[in-house]
């Protein structure tokens, strides 16, 4: 279980408890957190679940690679700490995680 904070572009925060084994995407869509569309349901096929991992957490979460990295390269306004949230699995180590939701997907 990890408490995850999703920060909207306007600064609004959604704090959600996400069980281990779910993804950071699941935490958002199961709790109606806006801005994370995740249309393909987590198959790494659509790049509509981008988040910017808060700088303080980026080392723990780690960077994207492979397909995810290629997809992100073409997503809306990708940044150094961008991840597709469907590819980030929740563990106790992510308790307190802060991610920022982009303006668009």
């Amino acid at each position: 279980m990890a408490k995850i904070t999703y920060v909207q572009p306007d600064g609004t925060k959604n704090e959600v408890e996400v069980p281990n084994g779910q993804s950071v995407k699941d935490g958002a869509v199961n709790n109606l957190v806006p801005g994370i569309l995740a249309e393909c349901g987590g198959a790494c096929a659509c790049a509509t679940c981008q988040v910017y991992v808060d700088a303080a957490w980026f080392e723990t979460v780690g960077p994207a690679d492979g397909v995810e990295k290629d997809m992100l390269d073409f997503a809306f306004d990708p940044q150094e700490t961008s991840r597709l949230s469907c590819q980030v699995d929740v563990t106790d180590a992510l308790d307190g995680l802060v991610v920022h939701v982009p303006e668009e997907q």
Partner: protein
């Protein structure tokens, strides 16, 4: 206010979530004839079938979601009729429910074969959770599976069955697999990939019957050939569920007719997902799509329409298919193309095909090539005319195609 959603598929689940996200605070009730809450169908022929996913993982939302957001699920019941004058729906158990707004997310059902032996035990279709679980239960190493139809479903089932050690044969009526949706180069690549994984692919063959006493033992073809089978899976397309809408007097033509805001001709009835025939602004045509993208995006438009904030739904369609370790991502609709340009080498299992009509990009099939897929999406939206010579030249970055 009250919204009744008929059908409990992907569009239904998205519609309920989107209504709450739009701030709708009336009652929402989803009525579905399967015993499961709204779920994702793509895994049914992929991870759920191969045993790589648990049942709960295919559900669109956890149970708590419906409780927390006050969405009532009525499952295992179907709707018998709609009375648009009285604004009621009647369930098969006789219950009559009134609505202020009605959403039809009735989806599609499989096209069933009606040929000698097609009622035998051991013949499966893949559309619902129970189909997949029933089929998975009968999988065992060394058993013979014959797949009728070399489309997405058939080939994904073949890949999942090979993973379970089944002996698999795919029978395709056309001269190549996936002929309806991809260029010959992509078909050839998939035929080779399946053969490399030990699947027998037979094209140009018309299945004419099934033989067996109570359970299927062979699949027979019009040319006299016959293939031994312990199990058969049929994947030959779907038919939109429009009967309820038709009986209620709503216009239907290969789907329930809606406008580009997911609205039917009745101001109190919207429709979304596989069951709709709708205009697509990107291509300037009316079409019916069988895809998650359409279910999700159109359901969002339907929610906005219900909330009095209509917004045009006009998107470039996209699809994906996972077979073995090959990821196929398709963006756009290639129908009507006059030029197909291959980028990369199929022998490297990493290539893409760009489909053009009079120079304008219509669609991209990307095999293990997410960059081409993502760039294709942008270019199609912009009605771009990428230079075919640059497309074919992998030394030119995909970002420099226009």
């Amino acid at each position: 206010m009250s919204v009744i959603i008929i059908g409990a598929g992907h569009a239904a689940g998205q519609l309920a979530a989107s209504l709450r996200m739009e701030g709708y605070d009336g009652s929402i009730r989803i009525i579905g004839d399967e015993p499961y809450p709204p779920y994702q169908r793509p895994p049914l022929s992929k991870q759920l079938l191969s045993g790589d996913m648990e049942l709960e993982q295919v559900y669109l939302k956890p149970d708590e979601f419906y409780e927390t957001n006050n969405v009532e699920l009525t499952l295992g019941k179907s709707v018998a009729s709609i009375d648009r004058g009285a604004k009621t729906v009647t369930l098969d158990d006789g219950e009559t429910v009134s609505y202020e707004k009605l959403a039809l997310t009735t989806g599609a059902r499989v096209r069933k074969l009606s040929i000698p032996g097609s009622d035998l035990d051991g013949i499966f279709y893949v559309r619902a959770i129970d189909d997949t679980l029933g089929l998975r239960d009968r999988f065992a190493p060394g058993k013979k599976l014959v797949v009728v139809g070399g489309g997405y479903i058939g080939l994904e089932v073949a890949a999942a069955a090979r993973k379970q050690g089944m002996n698999v044969t795919v029978l395709e009526m056309a001269d190549r697999v996936m002929n309806r949706v991809v260029a010959p180069e992509v078909s050839a690549f998939y035929e080779k990939a399946h053969r490399d994984h030990g699947v027998t692919i037979v094209t140009d063959v018309l299945v004419s019957g099934f033989t067996g006493d109570t359970s299927v033992t062979a699949v027979t073809c019009a040319d006299g050939s016959s293939y031994e089978a312990d199990l058969a899976v049929v994947g030959v397309g779907v038919i939109p569920n429009t009967e309820l809408a038709e009986a209620a007097g709503l216009a239907c033509s290969n789907g329930i007719v809606v406008d580009d805001m997911a609205r039917t001709e009745d101001p109190d009835v919207v429709s979304a997902g596989d069951c709709t025939n709708h205009p697509n602004g990107v291509y300037g045509i009316n079409l019916r799509l069988e895809s998650v993208q359409n279910a999700v995006d159109q359901a969002k438009a339907a929610a906005k329409a219900i909330c009095g904030k209509p917004e045009t739904y006009s998107a470039v369609p996209w699809f994906w298919s996972d077979q073995y370790d090959i990821k196929l991502q398709i963006v756009g609709l290639s129908q009507g193309y006059d030029q197909a340009v291959v980028r990369g080498n199929p022998d490297d299992s990493e290539f893409s095909v760009f489909y053009l009509r009079e120079g304008t990009l219509l669609a991209v099939d990307a095999i293990n090539s997410p960059r081409e897929y993502m760039m294709g999406r942008k270019l199609i939206t912009d009605h771009a005319k990428p230079d075919p010579a640059k497309i074919a030249d992998t030394s030119v970055s995909v970002k420099e195609l226009v």
